[in-house]
């Protein structure tokens, strides 16, 4: 979006601009908000184009806004038609003329495109009544899906940069730190270090210049919270960073962002340019005398770079390998200077806390975990997407009330938090409240926010092997416990998956896990054994089934399963026979087929091709 931007000289200018923007907003005008980030993968661009053409054709005064993520990715592409607040999911370009005729022109919903509540079978008109949204509380994602992320004016209209103006004008740096400390905000990157304390260490450290770094290297597979914030509301991260820089006395900033997130990088670049043009970033911000500059640095595909000392090495153009701490980055970080590193989600909380006060924020959540947490809900769950819930909500509420439970009437098995560093939490612990301490107590971690649901067709041994394989790939190789220890763990897990494991192996696996936890250099290695330890603790019977009975209860591990044709269901259509890459399937047309087990490579082609459910896995 192109906007005519003139430099804002002081707080009053900013306030005037905001009031004018609010005044000029026609609240009755029809506004169609379409997700143009994650939903692009499901054809949102075509839908948007269809709207633009139809609106042009009918000469309608409608505002079409390309927004960030609305969260409900399972329904992609999604859109909301204001002022009615009508929510539509799975929209195709063919639906557009009807939406225009009915909703835009008459204010009526198109019944077939509304969300149907699976529990009652009734359609729901308004987004806020959809169960997926009803149980959420949005602070971090307050603007995602509401505004055009490429428009700084829309951000300002929704009180954007008001917190920065307040901090610069009315608060000294200590007061800003005090407010953040009293809010109880803790690092959302996973470890949960109190943000206020980190800032006060950085402020107290001596060295010039100081650096403020935003960690957007979201490498945890299955997590896309930071991506959503940067794509859908980049200014909130920039405003949070600038306030942090003011608090700690930093003049230079970096955003270290994954290169796999091209839309996030594009939106961030635009946001930085616009903030600079308006004088909300750069020299003498809002006439306060405070100056702060931000550069973007793109990562290049290394999970370990999320670890702060590795991130610093990467920022400096070196191999991203961690180093022992202390000294901590707040004392000696980028180029040996004091450096404060905060995660995107942490920074997105800063502006609301400054505006509403630490006391307001600490009123949300539990005793030690304040505020909300954003989770990327995925795996075997109906409502995959992005959810923001208050701390202290139970896992059961997240998976079932917000997430809508397990698809295909399958049985819930486990929920995984914290990705490769986290743990698998079984069904009998589902009443656990989501907070840093409770999750740690059962061997998992809060992590950055990936939450993957597993059902009875997920093999926990195979899943542990998957995570260990990931760790082996991503281990930087600097310290022996991580480089070699996880390799040995992986070998044992592969053996168990292939039916070659022994009961003694499990003891070795556990011993290795504890040694690595105690002796690895950085967080990657220290947490790497968590998935194995939790699955050994809660799902040991599955390990034993592989070892003692030679079976994979979830029917996942290839060495232990067979594909068979169910004679009663086979119609002899020949579809499986045609796709089988090893010609293992034989049979005449219209006669029951057969799979030669010695030729079968268990690729699953026949299984996914058969239209008669005539192939079973045993």
């Amino acid at each position: 979006m192109h906007e005519d931007l003139q430099r804002i000289n002081d707080t009053k200018d900013l306030q005037d601009l905001r009031e004018r923007l609010k005044r000029e907003r026609d609240k009755d005008k029809v506004r169609i908000r379409i997700c143009m980030t994650g939903c692009r993968a499901h054809g949102a661009e075509e839908v948007m184009k269809a709207f633009e053409e139809e609106v042009e054709k009918r000469k309608l005064g409608v505002e079409i806004v390309a927004t960030g993520c609305h969260g409900f990715c399972a329904q992609a592409p999604v859109l909301v038609v204001d002022p009615y607040g009508i929510f539509y999911g799975s929209v195709s370009p063919d639906d557009v003329p009807e939406i225009i005729s009915e909703t835009v022109e008459k204010g009526k919903p198109v019944e077939r495109l509304l969300y149907t509540d699976p529990a009652s079978g009734k359609t729901i008109r308004n987004a806020r009544d959809v169960p997926f949204y009803k149980n959420q509380k949005k602070i971090v994602l307050r603007n995602c899906g509401e505004i055009d992320p490429t428009s700084i004016l829309q951000y300002i209209e929704r009180d954007g940069y008001a917190a920065l103006a307040k901090a610069l004008n009315e608060m000294d740096p200590e007061a800003v730190i005090g407010e953040i400390a009293s809010s109880g905000l803790r690092g959302r990157g996973g470890a949960g270090f109190p943000t206020g304390r980190k800032w006060s260490f950085a402020r107290a450290a001596s060295g010039d210049p100081k650096y403020m770094v935003c960690n957007a290297d979201e490498g945890d597979p299955g997590a896309f919270m930071d991506r959503a914030v940067l794509e859908g509301d980049p200014h909130t991260a920039i405003e949070g960073m600038t306030i942090a820089a003011y608090a700690i006395g930093a003049s230079e900033g970096y955003v270290y962002v994954r290169a796999e997130y091209p839309i996030a990088v594009e939106h961030l670049k635009k946001a930085l340019q616009d903030a600079q043009a308006l004088g909300l970033l750069g020299e003498n911000i809002l006439g306060s005398g405070f100056s702060f500059r931000i550069k973007i640095k793109k990562g290049s595909g290394a999970f370990v770079c999320g670890e702060e000392t590795a991130l610093i090495a990467s920022l400096e153009g070196r191999r991203g390998m961690p180093r022992p701490r202390p000294p901590f980055p707040v004392q000696s970080g980028v180029w040996g200077k004091p450096t404060c590193i905060n995660n995107v989600e942490t920074l997105a909380n800063v502006a609301p806390i400054i505006l509403n006060g630490g006391k307001w924020y600490s009123g949300i959540g539990t005793e030690k975990s304040k505020g909300t947490k954003v989770f990327a809900l995925a795996g075997k769950v109906n409502n995959t997407g992005l959810v923001e819930v208050p701390m202290g909500i139970t896992l059961k509420e997240v998976v079932f009330a917000v997430g809508g439970g397990i698809p295909d009437q399958r049985a819930f098995k486990a929920v995984l938090t914290g990705g490769p560093s986290g743990g698998c939490i079984p069904e009998d612990l589902l009443d656990l409240p989501v907070d840093y301490e409770s999750l740690a107590k059962v061997g998992a971690i809060m992590g950055s926010g990936g939450m993957i649901v597993a059902d009875d067709r997920t093999c926990m041994v195979d899943l542990s092997r998957f995570f260990m394989d990931f760790i082996q790939d991503e281990s930087c190789g600097k310290c022996v416990p991580c480089r070699i220890g996880t390799k040995r763990m992986l070998e044992i897990l592969i053996d168990v998956c292939n039916g070659r494991g022994t009961v003694e192996d499990l003891q070795v696996l556990e011993d290795l896990a504890y040694s690595i936890k105690d002796s690895a250099l950085c967080g990657l290695g220290q947490t790497a054994p968590n998935p194995v330890l939790t699955t050994l603790k809660y799902f040991k019977d599955e390990y034993l089934a592989h070892i003692e009975q030679g079976t994979c209860p979830a029917k996942v591990c290839k060495a232990l399963i067979q594909y068979r044709i169910i004679p009663d269901k086979c119609t002899g259509c020949g579809a499986c026979l045609k796709v089988c890459p090893t010609a293992a399937i034989t049979g005449e047309k219209k006669e029951v087929h057969d799979i030669a087990q010695e030729k079968c490579i268990k690729c699953g082609m026949c299984y996914s091709t058969c239209r008669f459910e005539a192939i079973e896995v045993v």
């Binding site: 994650g38 692009r40 993968a41 499901h42 990715c73 399972a74 992609a76 979201e218 490498g219 945890d220 597979p221 299955g222 997590a223 896309f224 991506r227 290169a259 796999e260 997130y261 640095k297 793109k298 990562g299 290049s300 595909g301 290394a302 999970f303 990467s314 920022l315 400096e316 153009g317 070196r318 191999r319 991203g320 390998m321 990327a376 995925a378 795996g379 075997k380 995959t384 997407g385 995984l416 990705g419 990936g450 993957i452 597993a454 997920t458 899943l463 998957f466 995570f467 990931f470 790939d473 991503e474 930087c476 796709v579 890459p581 690729c603 699953g604 082609m605 996914s608 091709t609």
Partner: protein, 157 residues
Amino acid sequence: MSVQTSAIDISHLLERYPSHEGQEALMGLLQDIQEELGYLPVGALETVSSHLNIPLSHIYGVISFYSQFSLTPRGKNIIKMCMGTACHIRGGQMVLEEIRSYLGLDGKDTTDDRLFSLEVVRCLGTCFLAPVMMIGNKYYGKLTTAKVRKILKNYQD
């Protein structure tokens, strides 16, 4: 050496990164070169080395550390097969094996006809499409072994 001998002209990219930035500019410059050329030819790296005054050995160390850099030419269509957790538990491994076997990759990552390069990536952040892959900038979601074959065949035709 070899600003002159290098057959590949990257001078317009060098302009974005002044020499005095040195090591700090390295990753950005390598990323820009790879984006434009699809890989990092040795000739270009020699130019980078003398421009930023960084030993070639250091540059090689950086390139070999980060999975996104490639020293060999890539195929026309880059397949990014997601192997994140959600894709894994929804059967991504089977799809990946099917891609490998269908394209006859057998340990390589680029097909002999240079039509495809296969990259295994850790999470594309579109877990609702799991298992998912990208070919170029296009997403293909909810893949099965049968579906992925059809998609690849379309690119071959």
